[in-house]
């Protein structure tokens, strides 16, 4: 395995399954915080080109909140959650009892609430991987950037530029009342770590 371009079918379905369990955990924890006002659909795993990523996210200039969490200890790499304006506003409005409409209205306090959501989401995915593999995975404090999609994506693109131009990417729908909001998660384990995960699961 030299890069994500040449993962085989079995490896892909393993990653998909990790995504499924992670998303299930995430939905459960989010629902408890948001008092059952959020549901999640089955996540969809894709492997895509860095340059197509911005298009999927609504164009390079579309403003998003990017929450970055680094994985450490047994598994090295990063998770990057990319959340739409609608989703971020909904989370803040429910959590903080506010009525904000856009990124311009977000306060420092709101930012830390979003970071905490990032923490919870990342923890949900990581505990899925840990439980399945028995590996010990630590998480860094989340960092947040609210900016153009293309600019946020330059970070993973540059960090993993030497590993080929493909990214592992999970798309999920959050359902809240009548509205359906898409969220995206980029998973970027270092290749060595991905190999270790596969070995721990008995997949080669």
């Amino acid at each position: 395995m030299e890069n994500f371009n040449n993962l085989n079918e079995i490896q892909l379905s393993v990653i998909s399954e990790i995504g499924n369990i992670g998303a299930g955990n995430a939905a459960t924890s989010l629902a408890s915080i948001l008092a059952d006002r959020v549901m999640m659909s089955v996540p969809e795993l894709q492997i895509i080109d860095v340059s197509d990523m911005a298009t999927i996210l609504g164009g390079p200039e579309n403003e998003l909140a990017g929450i970055l969490v680094n994985m450490k200890e047994d598994v090295q790499g990063m998770l990057l959650f990319l959340l739409d304006k609608e989703f971020v506003c909904m989370l803040i409005n429910v959590l903080m009892d506010e009525d904000i409409k856009g990124f311009g209205d977000i306060s420092e306090l709101d930012m830390s609430a979003i970071m905490e959501i990032g923490n919870i989401l990342a923890g949900s995915y990581i505990s899925a991987i840990s439980m399945m593999t028995n590996l010990n995975i630590g998480l860094s404090t989340p960092q947040i950037a609210i900016d153009m999609a293309g600019a946020i994506l330059s970070y993973p693109a540059a960090q993993f530029g030497s590993m080929g131009d493909k990214l592992l990417f999970i798309e999920e729908d959050f359902l809240s009342g009548e509205s359906k909001i898409k969220s995206h998660l980029l998973i970027m384990p270092e290749l060595k770590s991905l190999q270790l995960i596969m070995e721990s699961l008995g997949v080669c």
Partner: protein, 157 residues
């Protein structure tokens, strides 16, 4: 009306009036605008990383500062530019997330400047660093570079 020539990531294009150049949402990447004041031929390169460590194939040349700028100069020379007339304006190299040590953005900007010095191209203006994304539009007629940001205003250099 001229066209607006879009430059992607790890990409570069050459244009002349009435066409103009644009590249969207530079984060840690750097956009390098080269302009020949006489012929008005202009070039824009969007680089992702400072330097390549392996012998890369042709496609990869545009990805790295230490190979892309020289390639852009060559393409512009083929369109009738004289290297001696070229000046540069650069933007990008932001640090979108806090990293330990020197960020990719800073390293990109450093390498771009080093390359410009090596190629004897004068750097006329820059808008680099900080922690926000930039869209860069280059006007080939007057050599001005317009920076657009999300919530941090516009500026013309």
């Amino acid at each position: 009306m001229g066209r607006l020539v879009v430059v992607g990531i790890s990409d570069q294009q050459v244009a002349a009036p009435p066409d103009n150049l644009i590249t969207y949402a530079l984060g840690s990447c750097v956009g390098i605008c080269l302009h020949d004041n006489l012929s008005r031929v202009s070039g824009l390169a969007h680089i992702l990383l400072p330097e390549s460590f392996v012998d890369s194939d042709r496609k990869e040349v545009y990805k790295f500062a230490n190979t892309a700028i020289e390639e852009l100069v060559r393409s512009m020379e083929r369109k009738g530019c004289a290297r001696i007339h070229l000046t540069a304006k650069i933007a990008g190299g932001a640090n979108m997330f806090v990293t330990s040590g020197m960020s990719i953005g800073e390293r990109n900007v450093d390498m771009v400047k080093k390359e410009l010095r090596r190629l004897n191209i004068r750097l006329k203006a820059e808008d680099t660093g900080a922690n926000y994304g930039r869209t860069v539009e280059f006007n080939t007629s007057d050599g001005s570079m317009t920076i657009k940001t999300a919530g941090k205003g516009h500026k013309v250099l």
